[in-house]
Amino acid sequence: MKYSYFLGCQVPARVNYCELAVRRVTKALGIELIDLQGAGCCGCYLRSVDFRVTLGLASRILALADKQGLDLVLLCNSCYSTLTETTDFLKENPELRTETNELLAPQDLEYTGRTKVKDIIQVFYDDYGLQKIKSKVTRSFKGLKVAVQYGCHLLRPSKSTKFDNPEAPHILDDLVEVTEAESIYWPLKLWCCGFPSLPMNREMGMMLARNKFRAAKDAGADFMVTTCPSCQISFDILQPSIAKHYGEKYDLPVLYYPQLLGLAMNMDYKELGLHLNRVSTEPILRFIKEKRIEATA
């Protein structure tokens, strides 16, 4: 299994541990990722400013992947919806496609529509396969409760993202439950983490994250699992400052899914960057340690 691999802006700027976990876990599973050379911003940040700027930047990424001739794998939900929506805009509007290809031609690039865009979660679930993933799991998290966060831009707009049932998704729940941890019901599961609102109104963005912390805790979650680097920033990197802002305490560890999968495959926590998560992942590591003692006793 071989893919083009595009990192996006968010990960190297804020959450290198997401990438570390993806590289280690895919390597262990025998999934090969070839870095998409020369790629930059997918354009999502500038969609509010100018539709055509986003279209141009996103098409450039798609055209670079076309050239490499492999399906394109992403880590970031924002990149995923931007690139899947752009694919639809270009498919539905032939004049946009002509205009875009004129823009890309001087760079010796062309959007052909060949490339399939996939999130890393789809690679695990669809391409590698849930059962096969399950067969790689050697460490059980039975007894732990997880609040899963899909993130908006895998699920919506579903017409373009075509990821899962947008009202009752199960892919991430299933992937979490191969570790025997329980994916719990929690009321705000499908809601936004607030990240996209932060640049214009920090308070509003933080409000959404806070609502989610409280809902997850009320539902009895031991930790959260996300699929999205932006959610990861909102929930993990910003959790201490959100807690301080509201005078509250959440202490809710937040794992990026490949980190959990790696742990379940018996990989070392440092290989998966758990020591780099902002909110201490100690409770999860302690659980593993106690289990080990139990097993040998």
């Binding site: 990192l7 802006c9 968010q10 190297p12 700027a13 804020r14 290198n16 990438e19 570390l20 590289r23 870095d35 050379q37 020369g38 790629a39 930059g40 911003c41 999502c44 940040y45 500038l46 969609r47 509010s48 400013v49 100018d50 539709f51 700027v53 141009g56 930047l57 450039r60 805009f89 509007n93 946009l96 823009l103 890309l104 001087p106 760079q107 908006c152 831009h153 699920l155 919506r156 707009p157 579903s158 947008p166 009202e167 499908l190 809601w191 936004c192 607030g194 990240f195 996209p196 609102s197 640049p199 214009m200 109104n201 509003m204 963005g205 409000m207 959404l208 609502n211 960057g273 780099l276």
Partner: protein, 172 residues
């Protein structure tokens, strides 16, 4: 919505058609004002202008109010509204259409201006600081190589630099 008298003479009855002609706003005319979007938007409780009211402004031709309201910029782009709209109105996208017009006419807000500059200069929306690059090295992650020159020339053709510089005040 704040209470004020709406005068016929201040309305732009063609505005809804202009929005409907944009790629992002083409579904706006299908709205029946049922309010489903507002009941599902995570910001409904705190916004002065609720999601369905933004659409109503467009439909009524309240052009200035629609492109001046804070809701369009605070929208988290979560697309819950669009997903659940019984009429197929892609409200989250309509918000983008309105922001594009606001950016052109009133200037790009500071937060986005910074992202724009960053992409022009580095090819990326977020700076990778030296300490982040070092962390990557320590972790054995490859160097991030961006073809910033190609991206810059593409953005030049799309006139992003000009858009970021203009402080607005021009009518479309």
């Amino acid at each position: 919505m704040t209470e004020e008298t709406i005068r016929d003479s201040e309305l732009d009855p063609d505005f809804k058609f202009k929005i409907a002609k944009t790629y992002e706003g083409k579904t706006v005319l299908w709205c029946v004002q049922c309010g489903m979007c507002t009941s599902d938007c995570p910001y409904s409780e705190v916004w002065d202008v609720k999601p369905h009211q933004v659409i109503k402004m467009v439909l009524l031709g309240m052009r200035d109010q629609a492109i001046s309201c804070q809701s369009i910029w605070q929208c988290s782009t979560c697309f819950m509204c669009a997903e659940r709209c019984p009429q197929g109105v892609e409200l989250g996208r309509v918000m983008f259409a309105l922001k594009n017009i606001a950016a052109k006419e009133k200037g790009v807000p500071e937060g986005y201006r910074r992202f724009g500059q960053q992409v022009i200069e580095t090819g990326r929306a977020m700076e990778i600081t030296a300490s982040r690059e070092k962390e990557r090295e320590r972790l054995g992650l490859p160097k991030t190589l961006t073809d910033s020159k190609s991206i810059k020339s593409l953005l030049k053709k799309l006139k992003l630099d000009k858009l970021l510089k203009d402080k607005g005040g021009k009518k479309q």
